[in-house]
Amino acid sequence: MKQHYSIFTLARNAVSYHEKWTEAWRSPDPKPSYDVVIVGGGGHGLATAYYLAKEHGITNVAVIEKGWLGGGNTGRNTTIVRSNYLWDESAHLYEHALKLWEGLSQDLNYNVMFSQRGLLSTAHTVHDMQALRRRVYAIQLNGIDSEILTREQVAEYCPILDCSPTARYPVFGASLQRRGGVARHDAVAWGYARGADARGVDIIQNCEVTGFKIENGKITGLETTRGSIGAKKVGVVVAGHCGVLAGMAGFRLPIESHPLQAMVSEPIKPVLDCVVMSGQVHVYVSQSDKGELVFGAGIDSFNSYSQYGSPPVVENMLNALTELFPIFSRLRFLRQWGGIVDTCPDASPIIGKTPVENLFFNCGWGTGGFKATPGSGHVFAHTIATGEPHKLAAPFALERFTTGYLIDEHGAAGVAH
């Protein structure tokens, strides 16, 4: 049984100089075979394993991670969580996730520091404002919280934002989702890992999947850098690398991998209490609990698996940042980095079956999948366990690229986030 985390156990362990804590998850060697193998130890993969065990009682499960847990996009995103998406399909899926976020720390007994501090999305042209209204009205009719703020209300809500009407792109107004916010990204991976491990899931790090064993169109196992592993079902959740894994399985995806960059400032005392996103003046920013400002840039145009992007993308973003927040000009940035995002033509994810039987993919979250982590894992676990898509996942099947039923969220995803 796992040690329980609480202020009491902390105090108790303090007496023994914290020498009695045990590992949050084991590091077992891979077994010869599993009922389900999840490829990819990011938030989505770990959540999938967690819900497989918790909701479906499937515990003979391994999560195979080529590096360290949470080292993919889960560990490098700007942690914005919200559910204000335009189309019904997305709104339902992301709202499902948001509801899970709201109880996640307690469910996992791991504080993921989910902070519902409010998310402001600014509009800077007449056209922007129309698009924003369309989205807010749709979200509201889906029963999800969202409001429209006028310029004056924006200025009041976030006083350090430059709302002067003479700006090059003046703020016309904004949408606000009060339940939106940020979470501590690493804790999400670790919390799920600990929870899954406690339910018997084997978490295997430093193990790269190098191939699939497919017989008669059906998956039977995988090749890894630590040997072959048998599997009745395989769920692949590798974000930017999904194209590589699809290639191993003999098919292609409508996905390209691009670098997406983010950065942090030096830590300062609190100045920004909400999350701000602007599509026109391209930037999104929040302040973490440690005090650094976290800001995100856009994707680089070219395909890359490098986690390194181009400086102009960052330069433009910093330029935009000082425009929206003139008081940030003298602050300094501390670190910049990149992630590899899996972008889909309609800016929506792909969840479900593949041409190979019992091989499932969950990918295409691109620039915005962190917020979906619990929901994605939850519906994907259902999909794998039952072999049929969860009803919230059904519209996101790979199929849609054949029929043309795309779920175009470029508007909602206007800025990477």
Binding site: G243, L253, F302, N303, Y305, F401, T402, G404
Partner: protein
């Protein structure tokens, strides 16, 4: 920031170019005879390789010509640039990089 050798203008900074996606995808001339799934292959499905990528760029701020580039998607090393219509060169890479 990449330094891309435009086959016409010479080496220029990446910001002068527009990335124009995977290269060598011919448009089917018999679209009507293809199934929806086959058509989707052309429309959406991409190689997205880790390693050498044969891709197109357009020198947007320069000569406005499209051309092909063979580039490593991990190191960003550019192996070759070649004009539209030329076949993709085979890139030999050291130690399986």
């Amino acid at each position: 920031m990449l330094l891309i050798p435009c086959p016409y203008c010479g080496k220029r900074d990446e910001h002068e170019f527009t990335y124009a996606r995977e290269g060598h995808i011919a448009r089917p001339t018999n679209g009507e005879q293809l199934t929806d799934a086959e058509w989707a292959q052309y429309l959406f499905m991409r190689k997205n390789p880790k390693g050498v990528h044969y891709e197109r760029w357009m020198h947007a701020k320069g000569c406005r010509r499209y051309f092909n580039v063979a580039r490593d998607t991990v190191t960003h090393e550019i192996y070759a640039v070649y004009e539209m219509g030329q076949p993709a060169p085979v890139i030999e890479r050291e130690n399986g990089r």
